[in-house]
Symmetry: C3
Subunit: 145 residues, 3 copies
């Protein structure tokens, strides 16, 4: 029996816009390869409350549409109490960003099989910055053999 | 090599309102500590269809805003067939609650590293009651070494 | 100590409608049983960008309501650029389907304990076809002892 490995690695990146979708599949695949785990489970989590992680197609026009969709789904200035200094100590209004992240999700769990991520042909692991620009930490946990 | 452990534990709590957000990070951390798993993966699942589990900031004003946002996203009485006794045997109308749970999500997967949950500074594990008050069971599965 | 197993299995099914919700709990339970893993973690992922996987009640009227809710949440023809041949090479407009999948989620992580899936009484694992009819591949990854 091979020895079980549990590897955690965090990588940091700088987002450049208020809302931005970044394909992080390559960074995550590289971490998986360096961990040398061929069969197992990989988790991706963001360590922040105003960004999202999800699996989807990465295509320029689609990313623009996503911004429009999110702004319609969760409107920006809806009189949120969390954006009001009387009720909250937030440095700037980020309530809409938190809710957009809640709708998209913040954790991705994928299988690793034969040394490859179990992703479909058109699937990428996407990071959505929803309150940038900021420095962001992405947490990868891999467990397997 | 250390022995792989797989630990499952369920805890029950009583919600007090129709819609309520409860920070359950401490309960989950305590279960993790008693399982004595230092490196691995932790899953949190609700065993119900009308409540949600997700990771977000826990702040009073934000929780109030979340209720407002969910009520706007999924309206309460939209003539749902599932709320109608001709099509469904539900004891009371809970369709909006089921869909709010579907939008927020119902499972959280986190890494455990160095005996700590991989959570960011402002991140808590939140339980959202969407059809209370009720008794609710939360299921924790931990696997690791 | 028992030997750690990591099993991956993919199953394919044919959806019959544009939008369709299928209860796949039985197929997944069968895969779990044949893998003979009694304690562990099970992941379900779709390998496509226009369908969703989530845990919810499976009831006829509820499924009809879900379609209505999704169509209201993410409207069909909102002038998406990804549906426009000037910006994208998609064979047919599927932007609304991608976003409905993003809202519902695409991965399910469940515990296995005592040879059973950790699901509540009214919970099923549901597959939502959002751009059918098509052939779809569902990916199961199981890890445990």
């Amino acid at each position: 029996m091979q020895t079980l490995k549990v590897v955690r690695q965090t990588f940091t990146m700088l987002s450049e816009k208020r809302t931005q979708v970044i394909d992080i599949t390559k960074q995550i695949r590289d971490i998986m390869l360096s961990a040398d785990i061929k069969e197992g489970i990989l988790l991706v989590n963001s360590l922040h409350t105003t960004c999202a992680l999800f699996v989807n197609e990465f295509q320029g026009a689609l990313v623009e549409d996503l911004k429009t969709m999110l702004e319609r789904l969760v409107v920006d200035n809806a009189g949120y109490k969390h954006d009001d200094h009387r009720y909250s100590v937030c440095e700037r209004g980020n309530t809409a960003s938190e809710f957009r992240a809640a709708v998209l999700g913040r954790n991705v769990a994928l299988g690793i099989s034969g040394g490859e991520l179990a992703l479909g042909k058109f699937q990428s692991i996407l990071f959505a910055e929803l309150d940038g620009p900021r420095s962001r930490s992405i947490d990868i946990q891999i467990m397997g053999v």
